[in-house]
Amino acid sequence: MGKILAKPEVCMGCHLCEIWCAVAHSKSKHIIKAFNYEDKKPEPRVRVEEKLPLTFALQCRHCNEPDCVSACISGALTKNPESGAIEHDAEKCVGCYSCVLTCPYGNIFIDHAHKKVIKCDLCAGMETMYCVSKCPNQALVYVED
C-alpha cells in the first residue's frame, strides 16, 4: 500500500483538502448541498497543521504497528492484511475514544453527533483520493510503496 505524503514546502494552507474530504464523506457528495443543506455539517478526516508560515496537511498514516488498533476495545479498528489500510467499522465503534488518545499523529477525530470516531479511509470506493486530487498546489501526493 502506498502513502499520502505531505509537502510542506508547497502547502499554502488553503484548507481545501479538508473541505473536499468532508464533501467526499458527506451524504450527497455535493459541496454546496453538503455544507449548506444537509442536517449534519460534513467533517473532514484530514487536518491542516499550522504554525505560520509552516503549514501541512496530515491524515491517518496507516501505521505498520498501529497503536489505535491495539487500543480499540471493540474491534472496530483493524488493519487490512491485504491493503495495509487501517479500517474503521462504525457499526462496532462504541465511542470510547481510546484510539483518539493513542494516535501519535492526532489523526483520529471525534464525531460528536454520533459519539463515534472518524478517520481517513483513503477514499475507499471512490474515484479519486479527494485531498490529493483537489489540492491546487500538489502539496499532497500519493506515492506507491
Binding site: 502547502c11 499554502m12 484548507h15 481545501l16 454546496i32 449548506n36 498546489n137 500538489q138
Partner: protein, 504 residues
Amino acid sequence: MYSYLLPEFTIERSEDKCIRCRVCERQCANKVHEYDEDLNKIFSSNELCVGCQRCVALCPTNALYVHPRVYDYRPNSSWTRDKVQNLKKQAETGGVILTGSGNDKPYRIYWDHLVLNASQVTNPSIDPLREPMELKTFLGRKPDTLEITFEEGKASLKSQLNPNVPIKTPLVFSAMSYGAISYQAYKSLAMAAKEFGTLFNTGEGGLPEHMREEFGGNAIVQCASGRFGVDSDYLNSAQIIEIKIGQGAKPGIGGHLPGEKVSANIAETRMIPMGTDALSPAPQHDIYSIEDLSMLIYALKEATNYEKPVSVKIAAVHNVAAIASGIVRAGADIVAIDGIRGGTGAAPLATRDNVGIPMELALAAVDKRLREEGIRHKCSVLAAGGIRCSADAIKAIALGADAVYIGTAALVAMGCTLCHKCYTGKCNWGICTQDPFLTKRLNPEITSQKLVNLLKGWSHEIQEMLGGMGINAIESLRGNREHLRGVGLEEWELNVLGVKGAGE
C-alpha cells in the same frame, strides 16, 4: 487622516453558494475577507481589495465575483477615475504614486495593426507537421564574411567566429531578478528555460551559487548599475552577459528593492547586508558615453575570456536607432530593446505611463538603421516589452528582431493577473513577494511546466504561421517586412515601421 478614496473593486458573494470554508480569507494577504464566528458569515472589505482574483480562483463553489467599480464620480473624459483617485491619494500622502507591472494606457499597439502574409497559388505553403520547420536561433555577433579554405580536399573555416548562443525557439524569458520575484518564480523560469532549451535572464539580483551549475547553461546574467551579485564566478557561470542600461517600464531610473524584501538568501546572492535597501543608481556611473560603454563591454569580455556574447539592454526612447548603432560599434554582440509596455516590480506611475516609446517603432527603427550602416550582422537584436502572444513574437521577428524577451506573458502563465500591486510585496499569487507564506503558493514543478507549455504552444503557432508564409526557417523571416502589412496606420507610422499598407 480620514481617507476619501473610493474602493476600486466590488466584491459580490453569493450567500447561497458560500459554504464558509474560509479559503478566501486565508488566501488574501490584503485581509479583505474576515470570518465572523458568531454569525457564521464572511464579511468582505471592498476598500482593501486589489482585484487580483486569487480568492475568486480558489473559491471551491464559485461564490465570489470581484469586479472593478465603474466610474463613481461624474463621468469626465479628461478627469478619468484614475486621475482623480491618484490625485486624492497624493493629497493624503504627498508621495510619488507607485505602481507595478506594465503600462496600461491606450497607446497604439502596433502588433494589432500589422497583419501577416500567407502563400497562395504562386508559391507553396509548408505543413510544419510533415516537413522540417527550423526555429533554432543563434544569439551573438556574426562574422563579416565567411572565408573557407580547401586543403587536400578538406574544407576548413578561415574566418574567426564570435561566440554565439543557440536557442531552440526565439523566445527568451526577460530579466526578472531574485528579490523582485520570489525564489520559486525565479527557479520556475530557470527550470523551464533549461527543459525547453532557451534562456532565462537573472535580472540584476545575481544568480544564487547553488543554481549556477544546474542552470548557468541557460542563464543570461545582468550587470546593472547597482552591480548586485557581480563577480567573476557569476559572469563565467552564464551563457550571455547583459549590461542593463535601461528598462522599458522606467527609462532613466534604476531598480529599487526595499530592505523588507532583502532576506538572508537575497542578501547573500546580491552581496549586500540583510535588510538594506538595494537601490540601483539611475545611470551606470562609469558609463557617461559610448566610449565608456565600450570599456565595460570589453572589461566583461576580458573577465570571461572572450567566450560569451555581451548584450546591452536599453529602454526604447527617442533616438534609439542612433543609440543602438553606438552600442554595436562599442562592441556589443546583442542589443536588447525594451519598449514602453515593458513590466516592472516597482516604478513611479508617472514614469511608467509616460516615458519611452512603443517597442514596435523602436525595433523597426533600430533594424533599419543598423542595416543602412551595414552593421546589422554584428549584433543580434532582442525585442522586449509587451509581447503577448506568438503572433506578436513573429511580427517582431519580421520587423527585425532575432528573438523576443517575454516577461509579463511568463508571469501570467505562472498565475499573475496584472493587478499592478507588485510593489506592495503582498502578491497573492506568490510571484512578486518574499513572504514565505505567500511564496509557497508557487510550486516550481507545476509552474515550470506551465512555462514550458507556453513556450511549446507559442513555438507550434510560430511554426504554423511560418509554414503558411512558405518559409521553413525563422532566420528567413528576420527583418522580412514583405511579410507584414499595416492596417489602419498613418503614413509616418508605416514609414517608421518600413511596412507597406495592406493592399499594396
